[in-house]
Amino acid sequence: MTTIDPTAEVIASGVEAGDSALGRLLAAAADWLTSADHKKIGRLFLGGGLLGLLGTVAINVILGIERSGIGNINDGAMAQILDAQRVGLVFGTLLPLAIGLCVAVVPMQLGARSLAFPRLAAAGFWMWAGGLTFSMIALVNNGGGLGGDPDMVDLFLGAHGLMAIGLAATGVSIATSVLTTRAPGMSMRRVPFFAMSALVMGLGLVLLMPVLLGTLTYLFVDHRNGRQAFGGNTGLYDWAGWIFSPGAAMLFALPVAGLLAEGAPLLFKQRTPARGVVFAGFGLMGVAAVGSVTQQAVHNVPWYGSDLNFGGSYEVRENLFDLVPWAMFNLLPLLGLTIVLLMVLLQAKPVKGARPNVTPALAFGFLGLGMVMVGMIGTALFAIEDLGLQGTVFAEGALIYVVYGTVLAALGGMAYWAPKLWGVNLPATKVLPFAGLGVLATVLASLPSYVAGFDEPRDIYAILVLVGHVLMALTALGFIGLLVTSVMSSEGDAEADPYDGQTLEWATASPAPANNFVDPPSVMSAEPLVDSKQNYGQIDSEKGDS
């Protein structure tokens, strides 16, 4: 039934352009602003996420200048800058980039002609964009969790509620797409890895964002009416601070693992054995992350996972009681991630005589997942009270590892699927250097915070972090520049299947038309395109023999 979904024809029709340049411009703007084409909605999210990244980098640079002693910031503004950093990293960068890639790509992978409830996803984008804008306005005007202007604090809370509604709506759209719009023959076991990771992330949004919304509603009503229940502004971080924790961020970084799993089989052009194991890895990460957020009250979990104390004053039984929830919340997601990584390494075993097919999905996905993994290890260490990391910048380093790891993967995803989204092939020789630069930026922006956690804050650490953030800005700007120049100079001759792909998005033209597929393709295996290619994965000499 299609009463809520627009038909493919409606999506394709767009808005008629006027004759004049201004008319065409207005028509194009209206087309983008009101589009129900999932590729446009996804690209809007991606563009918003890249803008958010640049803004967040600018905030981090200001913070670095202050911390390194190069300059001084008005102390009154420090609270807002710290708030802006957290909001920028999670809501401004991580979420839109991860969601944007999923919205743009998943329906093509499923062989669907459109996203389920595309207008819901579009509304989700505008609510996210509006909420982020309002939260920044509130911060600029002395709002935020530690702000002094009550109206701006209220605006800050309301803006986050708006973003929560929008992101949950988009999560419903993504999850429903995977569950209901798969091509004929594509059972859940045959769903591509990236789409499966998007499903887990989408369900995570559906489960977590409403909890955030409910808590924010309490805080908003209480803050406007006496502030007796939650203690004024500070209640925001006591009761809703978990959304800025690396544990929650890890859930939204799941598509990073999906991207890597997507690129691994293409390395030596093999089918993936034991796909269920990879799916189980995604599930472990998702369940553990949701658990760590929803079980806070029961296990006294302060944002970053359960506390673990090895101190001598504890009884053995008490230590074990601490150990179990700590391991559940911190080691289970790591186990899930390790499973995905091991499956990828299994497929990276060289095939004699075959040339490796290194795609941006593999390179950026591998490096991005590595960064996310270091962030997760840091989160696990941070919860061990005996290490004395709490109250230091260690947690900030962990969050930046997770967020910048996701940024790397998002850049890789954009490069990998650029033929479908923009109609251009980005050559590996030009794209891969950005992966190296991005990793360097991530390590510099995060690792000194880890070291400072064990040591003590020093100017040199702050300067290194500052350099890391600047490098990340250069990575993003360089990538955007490459993409824009490639699109501008494109002659519309992008290959439909430049990577010899296995999944359905490579079966349609580049760029993908508005409806993705003229007819929904039929699927006979988990790698439907391999079924239609002769001698797939055979080295040249074998091809000659056959």
């Binding site: 039934m1 009463t3 809520i4 979904d5 062989g111 389920a116 409830f117 819901l120 949950a168 999560g171 419903v172 999850a175 429903t176 569950l179 209901t180 719009t181 798969r182 091509a183 004929p184 023959g185 369900l203 559906v206 489960l207 977590l208 964002m209 409403p210 909890v211 919304l213 409910g214 808590t215 509603t217 309490y218 908003f220 009503v221 209480d222 009416n225 006496g226 007796q228 229940a229 009761w239 929803t294 009250a297 299947d497 359905l504 079966a507 003229v518 007819d519 929904p520 393709p521 039929s522 699927v523 439907p528 395109l529 239609s532 290619k533 002769q534």
Partner: protein, 191 residues
């Protein structure tokens, strides 16, 4: 590469039902989270001040209990509408949907009556702010449910032969009954 063969026409995968189910899961998570915070705060305030419900405030339990019973009727009517739609019985279907909307409005009225009888201002302490935030969200969900019912009724009366939206509509009211039962127990029974 050989072209992939075109598949058959899209199999109906109950998109509205799945989407609604995910939506109600989100609603349940939201209210569940709010009730968890409510319970935590109630414990904190009882430990600190000795009481949670402000003195002199009486909750009109009869209205709360009647609203709970009304949800049995709501679910029955919503299921009746689906039953009628499956048999293409337009008369029964429209009547059942109208009854659903009417009972939902009565529940909203009962909640408004509770507000009126309690005489509690939204700014009258921690209990009041949390009470109005929680039950206010419940009211919003009830109003969304009434709109859902009206839209479903117009579609059905207008000749739409599919019954997927009516199944989704019934799922919504079942979820709302679960949500209200939890609110009733935590807020009106254990107070």
């Amino acid at each position: 590469m050989q072209a992939l063969t075109a598949g058959p026409t899209d199999a109906p995968r109950r998109q509205i039902i799945i989407g609604t189910t995910l939506g109600v899961v989100a609603m349940v998570m939201m209210v569940g989270g709010m009730l968890a915070v409510w319970s935590e705060q109630r414990t904190n305030f009882v430990e600190r001040d000795g009481n949670w419900l402000p003195s002199g405030v009486v909750i009109p339990e009869v209205a709360a209990n009647v609203a709970l019973i009304a949800f049995i009727a709501l679910c029955t009517f919503a299921q009746w509408a689906l039953w009628a739609a499956k048999r293409n019985d337009r008369g029964h279907g429209v009547f059942a949907l109208s009854a659903t909307a009417l009972v939902a409005i009565m529940v909203i009225n009962a909640q408004a009556f509770i507000y009126s009888e309690m005489g509690l201002g939204v700014g009258d302490g921690a209990y009041a702010t949390m009470f109005y935030a929680l039950t206010g969200f419940f009211m919003a969900l009830m109003i969304i449910g009434v709109i859902f019912t009206v839209v479903a009724a117009f579609r059905f009366a207008g000749g739409r032969s599919d019954n997927e939206i009516l199944a989704a509509h019934a799922i919504y009211w079942y979820a709302m009954s679960v949500i209200y039962t939890a609110i009733w127990f935590v807020v009106y029974v254990t107070k």
